[in-house]
Amino acid sequence: MADRVAPLDLIDVDALHSEEELQVRDVVRRLVADKVRPYVADWYERGEVPVRELAKDLGKTGLLGMHLTGYGCAGASAVAYGLACLELEAADSGLRSLVSVQGSLAMYAIWRYGSEEQKQQWLPAMAAGDAIGCFGLTEPDHGSDPASMTTRARRDGDDWILTGVKMWITNAPVADVAVVWARTDDGINGFVVPMDTPGVTANTIKHKLSLRASMTGELVLDGVRLPADALLPAARGLKAPLSCLTEARYGIVWGALGAARDCLHTAIDYATSRVQFGRPIAGFQLTQAKLADAALELQKGYLLALHLGRRAELGLLRPEQVSVGKLNNVREALAIARQCRTILGANGISAEYPVMRHAANLETVLTYEGTSEIHQLVVGQQLTGLAAFAS
């Protein structure tokens, strides 16, 4: 048998990276191989993850808030951040979610919109993995339409009183701090809420059938009294939380490719060793067609992610461009995962292989951080100049 070429080496995408970017990738790949891959199937099965322990390891390497500058953050490039997300999600989407929420949602919100005191108080500890953050925007009845949120913050003297419920909040059950978005008389505002503040409760969401190696919670805010300086001073209106989501979505554009690559690797390994009708099933044309198509979509998604990353490094990346990447790459990653599942046959549904886990995870990734449909509307609006969102 001739030598095999890894899916992402087909068109030599490594040649598009600097040595430093490849080094960052290699470190994350090694970290994940040592600290995550041997255990993740078990975490997934039990629905429990040692988030605090992991966060320490991730923080030591510099993965938490790695694309931010100052306050103990690594100040890495957008592409290096993307490559890190890819390697993390090649292990499990839950791990990438942990890092995305910590770095791109909670830390980014404080880094971009916080006061100097808020930054000093939280960012170094969060970068080190000593403090875990979460991000409360989505509510039980308000997902794609966050402008209709019902969580309220009213003034009481200098203090703020927060009341409301946030839902599907990654990291909430283990968090030390939440960035919570609430309606005030001035519109939407952000608040830095220590999780030990009286009136804050985080309930773990159980019985998930996807993203099980990730902690998800419901955040209940019952008359939570916060001092005046809990307000994120520079965040005005819904634009602020949406800008955080653009950051996190950018990581997903890369991350989803990691899950897809892992599925494709697994499928190729399996197909070249699984013998039916007297030869490896990789030698059958139908199997090769599936593998070739999957590899093509993987390359295209990678080039798209890299293009967006290079635009981000120039400060020229627009939110709707991130929508293009998220819509395409998650949709194609899910299609690749499903197709690879068929190559593994019955073994495809076993936790012995990562494929079904990735496929189930990607069902979540498809709809969180903006559903596919919302991203279609964003792209559609760009093409037509007409907003198809309701109202």
């Binding site: 040595e19 430093e20 080094q23 960052v24 030591k60 390497t61 790695m66 100040g75």
Partner: protein, 259 residues
């Protein structure tokens, strides 16, 4: 304390490795070249000593120009600077000549402590620490699984087949370490970005005052005359149990020193 860590770039021991057909040297061109695995433990040991006792950690590498990549990777773990001895005349050097070059380079660095891996995964001769110490006239504490620094006193636990020996020496000294000594850190992202800006000095044989005739093929004390591929693996021995299977297994394990 000034610590020099010897770092060698080697072909990845996890992949297929070859000798060149033209001059019988290691084929670096077709290989994935990496830091010798044991050297990462040496770097880690140097860095943890630096964290406790302060001072400076310098990486020293002898190798072709492509070895710079491994030097930068070593620097990304945390050392302060590096010296790269590169000279076309070095190609084909034997261990004795290599030790001459490294000792000359160390001599210019005024080191208190030289740490290296106990062996490299390509040559595996395990003689470099002894040879360098001999040339420098200093102590060699080799095969350490633990190293303690107390002022100018160095104490190691030398790993042996039966257990360990405690060996003590004063600085300056050469210490070689096994992979049981610590858990090397991952390079941090900050470390990776900082590595680009750290001083990396390239030195030629002339800079070290070593004559080209003393190294390379000309100066080699040993010559590889020919080489061939390892024969394919033989089938193992099957022990049929006719009552004494257990005894036979133990005899085998004992003969191979597994028990």
């Amino acid at each position: 304390m000034k610590i020099v860590v010897l770092v060698k770039q080697v072909p990845d021991s996890g992949a297929e490795r070859n000798l060149r057909s033209d001059d019988n040297t290691v084929d670096r061109g077709s290989a994935n070249n990496v830091i010798n695995e044991m050297d990462e433990y040496a770097i880690e040991e140097a860095l943890s000593i630096q964290e406790k006792h302060g001072g400076e950690v310098v990486v020293l590498t002898m190798g072709p120009s492509g070895a710079t990549e491994s030097i930068r990777k070593a620097l990304s773990m945390g050392p302060d600077s590096a010296v790269h001895v590169a000279d076309d005349a070095l190609h084909g050097s034997c261990a004795v000549a290599t030790s001459k070059v490294l000792a000359a380079a160390i001599g210019q660095l005024d080191a208190d402590l030289i740490i290296c891996g106990a062996e490299s995964t390509d040559g595996r001769v395990q003689v470099m620490p002894h040879m360098i110490a001999e040339r420098l006239g200093i102590a060699a504490l080799t095969g350490a699984r633990k190293l303690t620094v107390d002022g100018s006193t160095l104490t190691i636990e030398r790993q042996t087949e039966e257990g360990y020996e405690v060996v003590t020496a004063s600085t300056p000294a050469v210490v070689s370490v096994w992979d049981t000594i610590n858990e090397p850190r991952y390079p941090s992202f900050k470390g990776i970005m900082a590595a680009k800006k750290k001083p990396l000095e390239t030195k030629s044989l002339a800079d070290l005052g070593v004559d080209a005739s003393e190294v390379g093929f000309d100066g080699a004390t040993s010559t590889v005359v020919e080489h061939s591929k390892r024969p394919p693996r033989q089938a193992g021995n099957k022990v049929a149990d006719s009552g004494d299977g257990g005894v036979q297994l133990v005899q085998y394990l004992s003969s191979e020193k597994f028990v």
